[in-house]
C-alpha cells in the first residue's frame, strides 16, 4: 500500500504538471481538445491524490509499522477515531492532507464549471494546477508520508523492517476536537485558493465584468465558514485541553489562522462595493491575493518553526520551500497586476462619509490594520533580528492593546454599516434607524454599570452588543411586519419567510448576530478569576458562588492510557449541585501525560476545574479552579455564525410561491388575477 500511495502521488504530480503546461498551451492555441485534456488532467490529479490519501489511511488502519509516519503517530491501542486524526498529526501527513482538501475543492470546481465560463476556466485551471504542483512537490520529494523503515541487513543491503508497535499519538491531540479542528482550519486555508485562482484567472484573462465575484462568492463563504469554525474549535481545544483557563494566547500559530480570516472577512465585505457600485476593484483583487498569501504563510509558520510556538513542528528545511513558493506567487500576482491593471479601473467614487461605501471602507481599513498589527507582532522576532540583530518578541499586551479597540470599532460598524444607504444617508433615516438601538444600548450600558460592570472595554462591548442586536432585530421586525401584513402569518414565520426570500442579506445578519454573541463572550474575559490550592481528600475550596469539595480520587485503566481522576463535589448555596471529574491521563506508549479539564458551563459563567498534579512534598493533589464568565457565548456564537453562513448559501425563495397561498387579497393597485411579485424579491439581491 505504501508503494501504491507513492506511485499515486508521483502520477498526481505528473498530471498536475500536464494540467499546468497543457493549460498554458490551451490558452495560447485555444485548441478545444487541449483545453479539455488540461481540465481532465486536473481532475485526474485530484483523483490520484484521493487514492494516495486513502492508502495512507489504510496503512494506519492496518497497523503497518514499517511505514515511518505510521510508526511515529499511531499504535495498536489507539482508537479508530484517533487513527484518522493521526493522518494529519505530523508534518508529512498534514501536507498530504492539505493536498487532499485542495483536491476536493479543485475537483468540485473543475466538475461544476466544466461546460461553463469557457473563457475563464482554462486560466483558473492553470492557477489551481500551479498551487497543486507546489504541494505535490512537497508530498513527493520533500516530505513523503510513505517513507519506510529500513536498516542494513545481513548482506549489507538495505532491508525493510517492521516495528512491533508504534510510538502513539501525542496525548494533546487525543481529544475529540482535534479530530475536527485541523480539517476545518485546513479547509479554510485551502478553500481560499479557489477565489484566489478565479481572481488571478480573471485578471490574466481580462475577463469582463464582476462575474468572477459572483462565481466565487459561495466558495469564499464556505472557506470563510470553515476558517471561522476552525479558529473557534482551536480556541475550544486550547481551553478544554491545555488547562490554563484561557482560549486565546496570541500564539504564533493561532495568529497565523487569524490572519487570512481578517483579510477574508474584509474581502467578503468589500466585494459588495464592486458588485453594487463597481468600486474597489484593485483593492478586492489584492485582498484575495493577500488572503491566499497569508494562508500559505500560516502553513509556513505552523510547519517551519520560524517563530517559536508550542504548536510548531521541529525546525525543518521545509520553510524554505514555502518562502520560495510565496515569493513566486507574489511575483506572478504582481506581474499579472502590472500588465492588466487598466482592466481594474474603478467606475465610481466615494460620495459621502456617512454611506454604505464608507462603512465598508472603514470596515476594511480596520480589519487590515488589525491584520498588519497581528502579522507584525507575530513576525517581530524575525524582523527585529534582521534589523537590529537581537531577537525581540512581543506578547499579549501588544496584541490586546491594538485589537480590542479594533474589535469594538468593528462591532460598532456591524451595527451601523448595513443600515446606511448606498451613496449618501439622510439625517432623517439615521434618526429612524438608530434612535432605538442607541437608546437600548445606553440603557443596557446603565444597567450593566449599576450591576457592577466597571471594566471600560467590557462595559462598552456589552453596550455595543445590545446596540447591534437591536439594529439587527429591527431589520427582521420591519421586514417581517411587511410580510405579515400581506400573508397574515405569524411574525416568526414571516421572519423566516423574509430570510428565505433574501438569504444573502438576512443570512448575513444572522452571521453578524453570531459575531455579537462571540463578542459578549469575549467581554467576560476581563472578569476571570482563579484559585489554586493543595487539597487533601475532604478539603474544600471557595471560588465565586461555588464551594468545591474533594471527595476522593481513583484511577482507571483504559486501553491506551491510565487516568487518575479527582472526584470533586460542587456546592452552591449550601446545596450539592453536581460532581466534576478532572483527570490526568498517562499514556504508556510515549510516556506522556495529558490533562482533562472538568467544566461546568452555564450561560453566566464556566466553572473550570483542573487537576494540576500532586504537590511534590506532601503528595496531595493540587486543584486549580477558574471562574470564567460568559465563555459559553463564544461557542454558541460560533454555531450561529455557521447557521447564518448556511442561510447565505441557500438560493433565494421566490416571493411568488408564497403569495399564491396568501389569504389576504392583493392590494388595490394590482389586479387580483396577477400574482403579486415585488421586483426586489425576484432578482438576486446582493445586500
Amino acid at each position: 500500500m505504501d508503494v501504491f500511495g507513492s506511485f499515486a502521488l508521483l502520477l498526481a504530480f505528473i498530471c498536475a504538471a500536464y494540467a499546468l503546461v497543457g493549460g498554458i498551451a490551451a490558452i495560447l492555441t485555444r485548441h478545444p481538445l487541449l483545453i479539455k485534456s488540461a481540465r481532465q488532467a486536473g481532475i485526474a490529479t485530484c483523483g490520484l491524490i484521493f487514492l494516495a490519501t486513502g492508502s495512507l489511511v489504510y496503512l494506519f488502519f492496518s497497523d503497518s509499522y514499517w511505514v515511518s509516519y505510521v510508526v511515529a503517530h499511531s499504535n495498536h491501542d489507539l482508537s479508530t477515531f484517533y487513527k484518522v486524526a493521526a493522518l494529519w498529526s505530523g508534518q508529512e501527513g498534514s501536507l498530504l492532507f492539505w493536498s487532499f482538501l485542495l483536491a476536493i475543492y479543485v475537483f468540485s470546481v473543475l466538475l461544476v464549471y466544466r461546460n461553463k465560463n469557457g473563457e475563464l476556466m482554462p486560466y483558473v485551471g492553470v492557477v489551481l494546477a500551479g498551487v497543486q504542483i507546489f504541494f505535490l512537490t512537497l508530498n513527493n520529494f520533500v516530505a513523503s508520508p510513505f517513507k519506510v523503515l529500513a536498516a542494513p541487513g545481513a548482506n549489507g543491503a538495505m532491508e525493510i523492517f517492521t516495528r512491533a508497535d508504534g510510538n502513539g499519538l501525542t496525548p494533546l491531540l487525543q481529544y475529540p476536537e482535534m479530530v475536527i479542528h485541523p480539517p476545518n482550519l485546513y479547509s479554510g486555508y485551502t478553500g481560499f485558493t479557489i477565489p484566489f485562482a478565479f481572481a488571478l484567472g480573471a485578471l490574466l484573462a481580462r475577463y469582463p465584468g464582476e462575474k468572477w465575484i459572483h462565481l466565487t462568492r459561495k466558495w469564499t463563504m464556505i472557506a470563510w465558514c470553515f476558517q471561522t469554525v476552525g479558529i473557534l474549535l482551536g480556541a475550544h481545544w486550547a481551553y478544554a485541553v491545555l488547562g490554563w483557563g484561557g482560549y486565546w494566547g496570541w500564539d504564533p500559530v493561532e495568529n497565523a489562522s487569524l490572519l487570512p480570516w481578517l483579510t477574508g472577512t474584509a474581502f467578503l465585505h468589500s466585494v459588495m462595493m464592486q458588485e453594487k457600485r463597481g468600486m474597489m476593484k484593485v483593492w478586492n483583487v489584492w485582498l484575495v491575493f493577500c488572503t491566499f498569501f497569508l494562508c500559505i504563510l500560516g502553513t509556513l509558520l505552523t510547519r517551519s518553526g520560524v517563530v517559536s510556538s508550542v504548536h510548531a513542528f521541529a525546525q525543518s528545511s521545509i520553510g524554505n520551500w514555502f518562502v520560495g513558493f510565496l515569493l513566486l506567487a507574489i511575483t506572478v500576482c504582481l506581474v499579472a497586476y502590472v500588465k492588466n491593471r487598466d482592466y481594474l479601473k474603478s467606475e465610481n467614487q466615494l460620495d459621502s462619509m456617512i454611506s454604505r461605501e464608507s462603512s465598508f471602507l472603514f470596515n476594511n481599513l480596520i480589519l487590515l490594520v488589525s491584520c498588519i498589527a497581528v502579522l507584525s507582532g507575530t513576525l517581530f522576532p524575525v524582523f527585529s533580528e534582521w534589523f537590529s540583530g537581537s531577537r525581540i518578541s512581543v506578547g499579549a499586551p501588544f496584541f490586546n492593546k491594538v485589537n480590542i479597540p479594533i474589535g469594538l470599532l468593528l462591532l460598532f460598524l456591524t451595527g451601523v454599516g448595513p443600515l446606511l444607504a448606498w451613496r449618501k444617508t439622510s439625517a432623517e433615516s439615521l434618526k429612524r434607524n438608530f434612535g432605538w438601538p442607541l437608546l437600548m444600548g445606553l440603557l443596557a450600558g446603565g444597567v450593566f454599570f449599576s450591576a457592577g460592570v466597571r471594566e471600560f472595554f467590557s462595559l462598552f462591548c456589552l453596550l455595543l452588543c445590545v446596540f447591534v442586536t437591536t439594529t439587527i432585530g429591527m431589520e427582521f421586525f420591519r421586514g417581517a411586519k411587511v410580510i405579515r401584513a400581506r400573508t397574515g402569518t405569524s411574525l416568526v414565520s414571516s421572519a423566516v419567510e423574509l430570510t428565505m426570500r433574501n438569504t444573502r442579506r438576512y443570512g448575513g445578519y444572522i452571521v453578524h448576530m453570531g459575531m455579537v454573541l462571540i463578542f459578549v463572550g469575549l467581554s467576560g474575559a476581563a472578569f476571570n478569576r482563579d484559585v489554586q490550592k493543595e487539597m487533601p481528600p475532604g478539603g474544600t475550596m471557595d471560588i465565586g458562588p461555588y464551594k468545591l469539595l474533594l471527595q476522593s480520587s481513583d484511577s482507571k485503566a483504559e486501553p491506551n492510557y491510565t487516568a487518575q481522576r479527582m472526584i470533586v463535589e460542587v456546592w452552591r448555596d449550601h446545596k450539592p449541585l453536581m460532581m466534576l471529574y478532572p483527570e490526568r491521563r498517562f499514556f504508556q506508549s510515549n510516556e506522556q501525560s495529558g490533562t482533562m479539564v472538568a467544566i461546568y458551563s452555564t450561560l453566566r459563567e464556566d466553572l473550570y476545574v483542573v487537576y494540576a498534579g500532586q504537590s511534590p512534598e506532601t503528595e496531595r493533589p493540587v486543584i486549580h479552579a477558574f471562574l470564567n464568565p460568559l465563555v459559553k457565548w463564544i461557542w454558541f456564537g460560533g454555531v450561529v455564525v455557521v447557521l447564518g453562513t448556511i442561510v447565505t448559501l441557500l438560493p433565494n425563495r421566490r416571493a411568488v410561491l408564497v403569495l399564491t397561498g396568501a389569504t389576504e387579497p392583493a392590494s388595490r393597485s394590482h389586479p387580483a388575477s396577477q400574482p403579486l411579485v415585488p421586483s426586489v424579491a425576484l432578482k438576486e439581491s446582493h445586500d
Partner: protein
C-alpha cells in the same frame, strides 16, 4: 477633492491611534530572545530586560519545591539554572529532555527567574532506535 481629504483625515486618525497603541503595547511586552551561551556576556541594562531563553530540560533536574519549580536548561553546551515561580501549572509537555522556552528575567546571581514556561508540543517524533540497536534510517520507496 474635499471629500477625499475628509476620508484621508479619518483614515489617518485611525491608523495613527492604532500605531500609538501598538507602540504602547510593544513597550509593555517586548521580550528579548537569548541563547543560554549569550547570557554571561550581557551586562548593563540588557541584563535587566525581560527575556526568553530556550533550551533542553536536563534529565532528572526538575525539582518541585514549595512555591516554585527548579530545573536546569541546557543548550550549546552551557547550562542555566531556572526557578519557575509562575502560577500556571506547568504544561504536560514539560518533562526531562523536552524543549522548553522560559520567559522571565535574570537574577543577580546569574540564575533565571521564569514567570512562564512553554514546552514544545511533541507533535513530531523521530523514530526511536530499534531494540536490536540498529540505527534507523528512513528511506523512500
Amino acid at each position: 477633492m474635499q471629500k477625499q481629504a475628509k476620508f484621508g483625515v479619518g483614515i489617518a486618525i485611525i491608523v495613527a491611534s492604532m500605531g500609538f497603541l501598538a507602540w504602547l503595547g510593544y513597550g509593555e511586552s517586548k521580550t528579548y530572545y537569548h541563547t543560554i551561551a549569550e547570557l554571561p556576556a550581557l551586562h548593563g541594562s540588557s541584563r535587566a530586560h525581560r527575556m526568553r531563553v530556550g533550551g533542553t530540560v536536563e534529565s532528572g533536574s526538575i525539582r518541585r519545591l514549595p512555591g516554585r519549580v527548579d530545573f536546569v536548561l541546557e543548550g550549546e553546551g552551557k547550562a542555566l539554572r531556572v526557578s519557575y515561580v509562575g502560577s500556571d501549572p506547568l504544561p504536560d509537555t514539560f518533562v526531562d529532555k523536552s524543549q522548553a522556552l522560559v520567559e522571565g528575567s535574570l537574577t543577580n546571581d546569574g540564575n533565571f527567574r521564569a514567570e512562564h514556561v512553554q514546552a514544545k508540543c511533541a507533535s513530531k517524533y523521530e523514530a526511536a532506535p530499534t531494540a536490536d540497536g540498529g540505527s534507523v534510517k528512513p528511506s523512500t520507496m
